[in-house]
């Protein structure tokens, strides 16, 4: 077995999710090589070297890898693909974007979003918004896999892998990266947070949504939202937790004014402790909550802030 993990990074550090993916890769049994591709990404490559379980790090640094354009990253991965039995990436926005392109050009049926490794060719993956767990066996020579990060622990430090430079493949010339508008926040990233406070339609407005801020401050929490809150314009799209948004599994998930549509539950039901605050006693979210309060959130949230001191 030879396993290639494609890292997601910001040039300096690996993104949350990549270290969990390295853990999943380790369960396949074999040497794990990590590919760090980007522009000015030497620091991220140096970070990958230190991760436990990594045998080798390949760094490919070139302007055409800025923004991780799918066409260009795919060409690079294909240049080394035949050396590996498994090609693995986190099922994040980046991994979802380029990995099927790699799979199609290798004539391989990708296995998306695995939550468990049964053996080197058999995996469990959630389907139907996490309501059905499907075990699949691949007959392809190379397995192309994306990993649900929350299902695996992050790999720790303690490694000392060798670094090699991988020659950049040329730009495909099909698309152009014009930049990103990233939401600025001092809070932890949703997918890496230990505690998350999320708001739903019940928040009522963008102005009202802000009452979650002091609560998040007290708890050192990230702030998330349901699709309804995002669609209503209370918060930007990157706050969305759910089947097609972010998948999270923190120690504590506090859902405020979220009724609990199937699509939202899909994104957070693996959280360790779930708290639901809703004035509707019939809210479906109560069925999976560890603790719930049936009351007006505009009364309960400030009280919580006071109680937390």
């Amino acid at each position: 077995m030879a396993i290639l993990v494609i890292a997601e990074h910001d040039g300096k550090n690996l993104k949350p999710g990549t270290t969990n993916t390295i853990t999943a890769a380790g369960k396949l049994g074999g040497d794990v090589t990590v590919l760090v591709a980007g522009h000015n990404c030497a620091e991220a490559g140096a970070a990958a070297v230190k991760i436990k379980g990594v045998a080798k790090v390949l760094v490919s640094d070139a302007p055409q890898f800025e923004g991780a354009l799918a066409e260009n990253i795919t060409a690079l991965v294909l240049s080394v693909a035949k050396n590996y039995t498994h090609i693995v990436a986190p099922a994040t926005g980046m991994g979802k974007n380029f990995m099927p392109r790699v799979a199609a050009l290798l004539d391989v049926q990708q296995i998306s979003d695995i939550s468990s490794v049964v053996s080197a060719d058999t995996f469990v993956r959630p389907t139907y918004a996490g309501n059905v767990m499907t075990t699949v066996q691949s007959s392809d020579a190379i397995k192309v896999i994306t990993v649900r990060a929350t299902a695996f622990d992050p790999a720790g430090d303690g490694g000392s892998a060798a670094v090699e430079t991988l020659a950049a493949t040329s730009a495909a010339g099909l698309s152009k990266f014009n930049g990103q508008e990233l939401t600025k926040s001092v809070r932890p990233e949703l997918t890496a947070a230990r505690i998350i406070v999320s708001g739903g339609r019940g928040m009522g407005s963008a102005e009202n949504f802000k009452i979650l801020e002091p609560l998040a401050d007290k708890l050192g929490a990230a702030v998330g939202a349901s699709r309804a809150a995002v669609d209503s314009g209370f918060v930007p799209n990157d706050y969305q937790v759910g089947q097609t948004g972010k998948i999270v599994a923190p120690e504590l998930y506090v859902a405020v004014g979220i009724s609990g549509a199937i699509q939202h539950l899909a994104g957070m039901k693996d959280s360790k402790v779930i708290v639901a605050i809703n004035k509707d006693a019939e809210a479906p979210l109560f069925s999976i909550a560890s603790y719930w309060i049936v009351d007006d959130l505009f009364k309960v949230v400030p009280e919580l802030v006071t109680e937390l001191g």
Binding site: G67, A70, E71, T74, T92, M94, K96, F98, P100, R101, V102, A103, A104, L105, D107, Q109, Q110, S112, D113, P126, T127, Y128, N131, V132, M133, T135, V136, Q137, S139, D140, G173, L174, S175, K176, F177, Q180, T191, I195, R227, V230, D231, N237, D238, T244, L252, I262, Q263, V273, I274, F286, I288, S290, Y291, W292, I293, V300, E303, L304, E307, L308
Partner: protein, 249 residues
Amino acid sequence: MKVLVTAKRVIDPYVKVRVKSDGTGVETANIKMTINPFCEIAVEQAVRMKEAGIVTEIVVVSIGAPQCQETIRTAMAMGADRGILVEMAEEAQPLAVAKLLKAIIEKEQPRLVIMGKQAIDDDSNQCGQMVAALLGWPQATHISNVTINGDTADITREIDGGLEKLTVNLPAVVTADLRLNEPRYVTLPNIMKAKKKPLENIKPDALGVDVKPRLKTLNVAEPASRSAGVKVADAKELVAKLKNEARVI
């Protein structure tokens, strides 16, 4: 320009999915089916572009059981002009779907292919990227805006940290995210009109595509259920429980 859109038939997202007792799949008998919500957004986008005078013809493709005709008729009632059903008894896996679509696209020669970013049944999120790859076209996934400028399209994509801007050469494949638009409701007169629109029925063999599945489903099961929780009276009791019982704060 001509646009090709895809429409998958899926179990209605508001239906509680049940696993068959023998673990071979999910119950579909007498279950409400619908067009995949992301495909619906893709169709709506094509129709809006036609109404804006950018698009001249919309071809909608569905792959699967004969009942996928209903899904195609829904897309036609929204405004698609013509339908193609690739009829097959067994569900095609994403790579096979991509190969079938490639064959159709090479025949139809659209300038733009708009697909949903993922189907809400198998949640794979692969087909659009695979179609683009097989055709050697650029891709833009998870889009929330698309503007055509001659031979290129300006794209806004939803990414994990916010938004991303791209320019892709045409022809291209784009996949729709939730915020691209809000699909219209179909009206009865349009449903009646849709019944008269042309719908071609073809078999995978006719397209020369190998649709053999590469993934074998060994088991289908319900996830582990959570243990029952408790109702607490107020903020004070909740904080006490979180500190002393759950020990998470």
